[in-house]
């Protein structure tokens, strides 16, 4: 299995889109390209399982290592473990759903699909990188397409949101850069595996951990750097919102886990209280802020802040179960929020409003879309049977394992947010989906087309599989989290 294909396929797709003239061709090429991505990822999963079954217990599989900048000891080093594969699969699902949802995109469609596919390239590269330079490279590759997508195709105060997003994310990566430079000069290497095998002095770790963690944290809406999330998500066009919330925020969570916590475990111990406090604030603040929103996209954006708080909470707890939960939450939230944004986009395309009070009784006009909305909502509030329940439950279990008043209180606070989640989700659903019909013009609106059904169907499939058979995903990520937790356990004591 050649992992570089994950970069080459999107790149070729993007380049093929450029010379095309007609909308139909652009759509076809994007769809074929994203389908190829999905097949590739499934094949990757398949061969990974096969290797593991055959008893290959290496930390990372399918490694490739080419020298890139020899004098600086920079390599193009890639490889995957279970965690990265989970993320890669998530990316493939969201990309194909995004392409399907934007089927009707007519304004500058060529550029739109080009940027969308290019964005997926950045995400794949980030998830397979085992060299910090390569990782950083792909992290930044994924910023500017977002700026363009929001700024050109967005709605509302799009320029403002695009600029805010780009600058805050670049600020995040600037901090990440300082963290990486610190690691580099104390280990003389950018190689993740090599660095993990070394003991970085604790003072160095304490100095650079905050840079790396906050830097990546900005990507995943770490409080108080979450302000780009609501604006960015709500101004973005549907597919970009899906991508932003579904994948882009996961880049941060993955980075916090793989780079900050894995490479600097001592510092992670030192700072874990601060991380947990910030995560709890994000969870509660996000949930309460959502209650006040009337715009469907803002509702989902603020709830993303709250849900991504669980990821950080899981990482901050530093127990095996909690970190498992954090990874599960990343995947689950990625699928769920992409589904939510997709369905909000569909409603907006038809009714041209996202204000809850202007909507009502949608179930009668568009039963399919409404059902999907309800499913996404239930997953978001953590109903058993969907992925959200599994992920949040695992995080709580993991946090509860820390038998200390502080951690217990944090867990209780985080749990309490579920009630708030239920309030806003059920209120929005009740008003917009059930309820009486507010606007009689809405009576003539049609239901989802084939492309929308396919897109949401794929995402729901993912959510339900994780919800019903969580052991599949847990088994997949288990070796990866085990390595991380072993490193934390040995060095932390």
């Amino acid at each position: 299995m050649n992992l570089s294909l994950l970069i080459i396929v999107p790149l070729l797709t993007a380049l093929c889109i450029l010379p095309l003239k007609q909308l139909k061709q652009v759509r076809a090429v994007s769809l074929i390209g994203s389908l190829a991505q999905l097949l590739l990822c499934l094949d990757l999963l398949w061969s990974y399982m096969k290797e593991r079954k055959a008893g290959n217990s290496a930390a990372f599989l399918f490694e490739d290592n080419y020298t890139w900048y020899a004098p600086l000891n920079i390599n193009y080093h890639i490889g995957v473990d279970g965690i990265s594969i989970a993320m890669i699969l998530l990316t493939a699902f969201v990309v194909i759903a995004g392409v399907l949802v934007s089927w009707k995109m007519e304004k500058l469609s060529k550029e739109f699909f080009f940027l969308l596919i290019f964005l997926s390239l950045g995400a794949y590269g980030f998830f397979i990188a085992l060299d910090l330079f390569t990782l950083f490279f792909f992290l930044e590759v994924a910023v500017i397409p977002k700026f363009m997508l929001i700024g050109i195709w967005g709605s509302g105060k799009k320029e403002y949101s695009a600029m805010k997003l780009a600058l805050m994310l670049m600020g995040g990566s600037a901090l990440v850069f300082v963290g990486l430079a610190g690691i580099y000069f104390n280990t003389n290497s950018f190689d993740l595996i090599q660095i993990a095998g070394m003991d970085i002095p604790i003072e160095v770790q304490k100095l650079f951990f905050p840079f790396a963690f906050i830097g990546f944290g900005i990507f995943t809406a770490l409080f108080p750097f979450h302000t780009w999330v609501p604006d960015g998500h709500s101004s973005a066009p549907t597919a970009a919102s899906m991508f932003l919330a579904g994948i882009s925020m996961k880049l941060g969570g993955y980075g916090c886990l793989r780079v900050a916590t894995y490479l600097m475990p001592d510092a992670a111990h030192e700072y874990s209280t601060i991380i947990i406090v910030l995560a709890c604030i994000a969870i509660l603040y996000g949930a309460f802020a959502t209650m006040m929103q009337t715009d469907l996209k803002y509702i989902n954006a603020y709830s993303s802040v709250s849900h991504c708080g669980f990821v950080l909470l899981g990482i901050g707890m530093l127990t095996k179960t909690a970190i498992d939960g954090a990874v599960l939450q990343m995947v689950s939230h990625g699928l769920m929020t992409a589904l939510f944004f997709a369905v909000i986009g569909m409603i907006y395309d038809r009714t041209h409003t996202r204000q809850v009070e202007q909507l009502g009784g949608l179930m009668k006009m568009m039963p399919f879309i409404s059902t999907v909305f309800v499913i996404a909502g239930l997953c978001s509030l953590g109903l058993p049977g969907f992925s959200g329940f599994v992920a949040e439950m695992t995080v709580f279990m993991g946090s509860w394992q820390k038998a200390d008043a502080f951690y217990r209180i944090a867990t209780i606070i985080a749990c309490a947010s579920i009630v708030v989640t239920a309030v806003y989700i059920l209120r929005a659903t009740g008003k917009a989906i059930m309820g009486p019909i507010v606007n009689n013009e809405h009576l003539s609106l049609g239901d989802a087309g084939w492309n929308e059904k396919l897109a949401t169907g794929l995402l729901i499939l993912g959510i339900v599989i994780i919800g019903i058979a969580p052991f599949l995903l847990k088994g997949l990520i288990n070796p990866g989290t085990e390595i991380i937790i072993n490193k934390i356990a040995t060095l932390g004591n």
Binding site: W68, Y69, A70, P71, L72, F133, F136, F137, F138, E140, V141, V143, I144, F147, M148, G151, I152, K158, E159, A162, M163, A166, L167, M170, G171, A174, L175, F177, V178, A181, G182, Y184, F185, L207
Partner: protein, 472 residues
Amino acid sequence: MVNEFLILMKQELIITFIIFVLLFIKLGKQETKNETLINLVNILFTLNLISGFFFQQSGTLFGDMFYTNGLFTFEKNLLNLGTLIISLQSYNWLKDHKHVSEFYILMLSTLLGMFFMISSQNLLMFYLALELSTIPLAAMANFDLEKRRSSEAAFKMIISSAFSSGLLLFGISLVYGTMGTLNLHELSIGFVSTPINIFAFILLLAGFAFKISAVPFHLWTADVYEGSPVSVTSYLSVISKGAILFVFTTVLYSAFSPIDDTFSETWYNMLFLISVITMIIGNLFALRQQNMKRFLAFSSIAQVGFILIGVTGQSREGVASVIFFVLIYIFSNLAAFGVINLVSAETGRENINDYKGFYKTNKGLSWVLAIALFSLGGIPPTAGFFGKFFLLLAGAGRGNYLLITIAALNMVISLYYYLKVIKAIFMDANDNPIENVKAGWSPKMAMIICVAGIVITGLASGAYNYIHSLLK
């Protein structure tokens, strides 16, 4: 001997040859058409560029006055390449100009001066070469003959460079007074950090800072850039600045290499300070600019701040990253100037607001400008990302994480103004956008070279590794 002379000085000799060809054409009775002349010069330039890669040899001439080696030849080649690109870009502007051959003669004289400057092994020789490269530049700044701003620019340029030359000369004379020699190599052996020597060093540093327009010696830059014709502005900001930076690193690392602790501290702190304020001031001023040329002028001041970080690194990687960045800077800045040059020559519009809605009318040019600005802002996968990354990495080599934190945050500020232009091009609506600009084959070619350079130089590590291998 003659052979050696011909080979070691081949780049200088070819440039002199082209100057003479142009002079003879000018003296001849026949009127030559502008187009023919420009094409002829471009062909000769290309030959010159190609020849630079052959017969590389190192050695000294004229009693240690002139020294060349693989690195210097490469640096000269970079300048050659940049000049060729500028010449290709200026086609639309020059073809209706009355004094084409004079323009080229002046430009080549400055280039010749820069070549000698790079190769100078003696501060006196360096000073001579520097003057050769600045005085014709002032004349070039005045080349929009009908515009008053252009003459104003030339005047400001000549006065400020005279002042900085004065500082340099004072520093050089102090060095000669205490050391009794001006040879860079001998200086590096005998340098001791007495107060007068440090004073001389500071004077020299100030002179250099003037030429690379580092803060607080940057005040001339914006006005001169704005007033000069776009081709001259791009020449000033890329070629002239690049050449001085090459010499700057050579001098700092040879004659004034920090040998003892006191001097090392002064050396480092001075550069650190200049680098930080240059970045910050350049960025803050660039935020408010409305004119494209002025905007790029201030952004180029900020870029110098970044380049100085690499210089502070005091390592082989540091010097390599500086030269590598100049290479990338040539491609990126010239790509941006190429578009501005074309638009300015065809429509005369130079404000950022004029570029609103540019994407609707000029798709190709918009992408070229966008890629150039991304590269200047340090966004991957463009080469600018690699250049900035390596500069900052070299700066962190001394363990000064404060410096790179400031620099990394400055990159975010600089991104804001680059993205503002991108926003104008792609996102803003405009009732009266710039009409479709047709580029001839020659500006097109220049843009293809630049864009290819921006894309390839970073992703393929060849250029950096080559530069690194040239440094000993």
